[in-house]
């Protein structure tokens, strides 16, 4: 256990550094990026198998005992997140190798992508509050650049809001860290949990908890803090948006889950009630915003918000089953959403537009792509037996068992509108004949096109598999949720490992 937990951080960094050193040679960079992505996935698989029995993999960086050094701690939630990052890394880097324009590659797309992955992985494995902040900054900075890379008008205009609001969030996060450190005198999450449990003045702690809720809420895209998302996500190339949608907001949600299951337990009724209310509003607001759109990428982007609402719903309900639902939903939505963005990108590659009004006729023209799309779209809408169904129904069951009627009503209503949005894309892009025949911009020969589609096929298979093999998925998620509900094991693993 001396190396493994640090690999999710060091491997992408090493890849990024190599890419930087080979900055003149795009082909070498491509190979490095692909190879590194595979390594990330491989590491994630190792970590996954090491922790799937409930073991918490702990490593003290620099051999300084917790809580003095920085501790990396991987529980089941972390390891499933790592696995998702690995899956995403492989697919998106392969996709980018095909889809991205040369100048972007030349000016550092691959190192930036790898460093984004490093930041995300770091956030998932760290057991230290300030270190979490650092990883947030790493991934945010990488995302700022990826967002603006290329310097197109819309990209730049959109990134202003993205950058500003995320920096605001960082300032609030930092304030929260400072205050919490002042109160507890430590930054180690396990130690914090420990102290908070014994500590006095939990009521004042609630104020700090709200600072964290704000900071993570902005990053997660929670209502009413998500405005940066619709403005910015639909502007960069598809590979970037796919990466963002899969990872960025999810890191916010992950952190919220981590902090509000481990550290902030002082006033669960108020805090989790707040999260639940936020979750409901997030769902509704996000789905309404998506409903109003007629640009494929934008619909997908804005929908991220409503899906965040679902994940938060599990946290808000704060039962084991509900958290199980959240975890399944997280996994599901990361895979499916990424896939949808890649498919949208493929469509844009073919037709040169994301506009629903201009597109059409792909159902006949590209049956393969249609199948990939409809499966993912329906999975997103929660059609059984795809992954989305199990995610949704688990949350609904949890909500009904907790007798939180209103959130259930909201969740159900939102899922209907989600379906509406997905069928809207389907009807406009695939079913409807193209209003004006669009030229086929795709210069790829058939074999290459098939390779290009491979990541999408892979993700589609995963979403189906997550439904068909829902048993093991559910077992794992509920184990992970049980770990979250009983933070003592985490605390013991971290503080006892010194």
């Amino acid at each position: 256990m001396t190396v493994l937990p640090s690999l999710p951080i060091t491997i992408p960094l090493a890849g990024a550094v190599l890419c930087m050193l080979f900055r003149r040679n795009i082909r070498v960079q491509k190979s490095i990026a692909l190879f590194t992505s595979f390594l990330i996935l491989l590491t994630a698989l190792f970590v996954f198998s090491a922790t799937k029995d409930g073991t918490i993999a702990v490593m003290n960086v620099g051999d300084w005992p917790a809580p003095f050094g920085i501790t990396l701690a991987i529980d089941m939630l972390s390891s499933v997140m790592l696995l998702l990052v690995g899956l995403l890394a492989v697919g998106v880097s392969a996709y980018a190798c095909f889809d991205l324009d040369e100048p972007r590659m030349e000016f550092g797309f691959f190192p930036l992508m790898l460093i984004l992955l490093m930041g995300v992985n770091g956030a998932f494995v760290t057991g230290d509050l300030f270190n979490l902040y650092v990883w947030f900054e790493v991934l945010l900075t990488a995302s700022f650049i990826l967002l603006a890379l290329g310097g197109e008008r819309a990209q730049l205009a959109g990134s202003i809001k993205y950058v500003t609001l995320n920096l605001l969030s960082s300032a609030l996060f930092l304030a929260g860290i400072g205050i919490l450190y002042g109160m507890a005198g430590t930054l180690n999450l396990a130690e914090l949990a420990h102290l908070v449990k014994d500590g006095a003045r939990g009521d004042l702690l609630t104020m700090v908890a709200i600072m964290f809720m704000m900071a993570f809420g902005i990053k997660a895209g929670m209502f009413p803090l998500y405005f940066w998302l619709p403005a910015s996500y639909p502007t960069p190339p598809a590979a970037v948006t796919a990466l963002f949608s899969g990872l960025l907001t999810k890191v916010g949600v992950y952190s919220m889950i981590r902090m509000f299951t481990l550290v902030f337990e002082s006033d669960p009724e108020f805090l989790h009630g707040l999260i639940l209310a936020g979750a409901g509003l997030t769902m509704v607001s996000g789905v309404l915003a998506a409903t109003a759109q007629y640009e494929m990428r934008k619909i997908l982007a804005v929908h991220i918000v409503s899906q965040i609402g679902y994940i938060l719903m599990g946290l808000g309900l704060f039962t084991e089953l509900a958290l199980t639902g959240s975890i399944i939903y997280l996994a599901h939505v990361i895979i499916v959403k990424t896939n949808l963005f890649l498919i949208a990108g493929a469509i844009n590659r073919l037709k040169g537009t994301y506009d629903l009004h201009k597109l059409g006729g792909l159902y006949v023209e590209r049956p393969g792509l249609s199948i990939l799309f409809i499966i993912s779209a329906m999975s997103l809408a929660g059609v059984p037996p795809l992954s989305g169904f199990f995610a949704k129904i688990t949350l609904i069951i949890a909500g009904l068992r907790a007798e939180s009627w209103s959130i259930v009503v909201v969740a159900l209503g939102v899922s209907l509108l989600t379906l509406y949005s997905m069928t809207k894309i389907w009807a406009y892009v695939f079913w409807k004949p193209a209003p004006e025949p669009l030229p086929d911009l795709n210069p790829m020969p058939k074999g290459k096109w098939f390779v290009f589609l491979l990541p999408m096929v892979g993700y589609t298979v995963i979403t189906i598999a997550m439904g068909v093999f829902a048993g093991p998925v559910f077992d794992y998620a509920s184990e992970a949720a049980a770990q979250l509900m009983n933070p003592q094991s985490y605390i013991d693993a971290v503080l006892g490992a010194g």
Binding site: F130, Y133, V134, E137, L140, T141, F144, I145, A148, G151, E152, R153, A154, L156, A157, G158, S159, I160, K161, V163, T164, L167, L168, S170, A171, L174, A175, I177, G178, I179, Y181, G182, M183, L187, F227, P230, A231, S232, P234, T235, A292
Partner: protein
């Protein structure tokens, strides 16, 4: 003393936010700068002000005798300063390019991508 600094922190946060709500890209940058000052001072203050020496062990000594300042918040702030600097530098270039490409430095006019 802490009360005084707490008020200063409040001013920094408030001032930073006010500037971020203006219409110029430059004011936005400056606002972010103030915000970052506020955050750093906040860590410093909330981490506990000890009016002691620097946490540096004098040549020839093996352990700290007198009370010294808490080194951890200092290290955190150092990291935070650096990160802010990096982000500010990037944001500056970003805003510059935005101005050159979009043709305006009026934040209120940058709304085409929102709805």
């Amino acid at each position: 003393m802490e009360v005084v600094l707490a008020i200063v922190i409040g001013f920094l946060y408030g001032g930073g936010l006010y500037l971020m709500m203006r219409r110029n890209l430059i004011q936005l940058i400056i606002g972010l700068g103030l915000l970052s000052h506020g955050a750093n001072l906040l860590i410093f203050t909330a981490g506990g002000l000890r009016k002691g020496g620097a946490p540096i062990l004098a040549e020839g000594e093996k352990a700290f005798g007198a009370m010294v300042a808490d080194p951890l918040p200092q290290a955190l702030i150092l990291t935070s300063i650096v990160i802010s600097f990096a982000v500010t530098a990037f944001a500056l270039v970003l805003f510059l390019r935005t101005y050159q490409t979009v043709g305006t430095d009026d934040v209120d006019e940058l709304k085409e991508t929102d709805s």
